[in-house]
Subunit: 276 residues, 2 copies
């Protein structure tokens, strides 16, 4: 039960009624006896530049989670950003530094990569294709680069978006072979769908599964259904896969660490989550 000594994590978004983080974090805080709570705060875009810093200055606020539509606009409001934020130009976690400065990070990609590491996917030297160069695709590309993949192919239907992401990746990882190209899975060790395709029943596939080999690892960001058409096609070909919610549950321990609440495992979080 929230009270005056409870440490708060603000959760900024609009609309706010759809957010799921409280249904994972809050039962977990309860289950381990940590006096903390994620508090959803519905902030309209026009109010965000005033509200976000004001909330972060509150004495009982440990940090903030950021979701739609504020992940991009947050970046310009920060004093310090991580490499992932600089590359993705998107931020989903804010905290106050020891000096009071606002720091931002982005754990979508790191969560995605943690899931791959847990599944013993070899990242060092791998060839990877990321389809979709928006916020989450950029985050995953940045995390794959940080994890040491050798070659990164980026595809987005808005080609300049993929090119701009490639340029930012090159700046931070000069040794990485990164380029924009087709959504062609041939020759890839790791293939990622980072588009919303798969949320709706009549969506086209984000890429042609014919290019997949049995040794290709296929990861997904869509969470609405565990086995998207892409993942079903991949499994039929013998590929190993990662479902969308793995990225979610793998990244939450990173936020907990970031906000100073220790850590936990995705399994422990799944066990208490009330996602229904």
């Amino acid at each position: 039960m929230i009270n005056g000594s409870t440490s708060l994590i603000a959760h900024f978004g609009d609309p706010i009624d759809v957010v799921k983080a409280p249904l994972i974090y809050n039962p977990w805080f309860d289950s381990v006896g940590i006096d903390a709570a994620v508090v959803p705060m519905g902030v309209r875009s026009a109010d965000y530049a005033q509200a976000m810093p004001a909330v972060l200055r509150m004495t009982n606020v440990r940090g903030a989670l950021v979701t739609m539509p504020h992940k991009v606009t947050t970046v310009a409001l920060l004093d310090r950003v991580s490499t992932a934020v600089a590359i993705a130009q998107s931020c989903n976690a804010v905290r106050k530094g020891a000096d009071g400065a606002l720091e931002g990070d982005l754990f979508d990609g790191a969560g995605f990569v943690r899931g791959l590491v847990r599944k013993s996917v070899t990242l060092a030297g791998a060839n990877a294709l990321v389809v979709g160069a928006g916020g989450v695709g950029s985050a995953i590309a940045a995390a794959l680069a940080a994890a040491g993949v050798a070659r990164l192919q980026l595809f987005d239907t808005r080609r300049e978006v993929a090119q701009q992401l490639a340029a930012r990746l090159r700046q931070h990882y000069p040794a990485l072979d990164v380029h924009d190209g087709a959504n062609d899975a041939q020759g890839q060790d790791i293939v990622v769908n980072a588009t919303p395709l798969g949320m709706n029943p009549d969506d086209p596939l984000p890429l042609d599964p014919a290019g997949l080999r049995a040794t290709t690892f296929v990861g997904e960001v869509v969470m609405k259904q565990a086995r998207t058409p892409l993942l079903r096609a991949a499994e039929a070909l013998g590929c190993r896969i990662q479902v969308g919610t793995d990225m979610l549950f793998e990244q939450i321990p990173l936020y907990l660490e970031y906000f100073g609440f220790g850590t936990t495992t995705p399994d422990a979080l799944r066990a208490v989550a009330r996602l229904g």
Copy 2:
């Protein structure tokens, strides 16, 4: 458990760890199945003018409770104030009006008077003494005036504070016989201690109980102990009394109504409160 659809009441204060409202409201919301929560927000004075309006604009925030040190500074930030706020120049409840304007009210005094009405104290035409013309004393004086007392005597060790309060009361209640005078209980039907005297064991009494008659009703705002030395002296003289927490529990239904959560009774609130 707080989630994206929960209606929030912000609770502004500094320090924030001492606030008690969440320990009354939140168990009550739980007990009646209302998806709402009081969320303490520790806001420093320097940040308040930015934080308060920003929080009130959040889509899931229904209103705010205000406590030390922000009750006075809130007044200047509002678009509309109640008579109680105008007289007391203090505010402890803020909500958005239908037009988006910020409205403020103050229920300390109304809660105090509700307790008297519940105890069948005759207010219309009564003579009342209020000792202490600070925030809570002003609120009680305003509520006694609104309830129709005939004569109101105000005492404060800072005489100009009592005089200024008397002037504001006269402005709003021209028919009321209001004046600053001594902390003399003689001839009073209702006597109120609205000072902090009684919180500490070696505090002097706020007034000389020798002036009390058995028919005088004595009310107290100090909550630290139920029977303060003043109340013990009053009871020894046969006076009926009101303890400090009555004011607290009587005013909470008023806040619930103000924020649109229906209402309840002080007894129902006391039954679920976790004040320890």
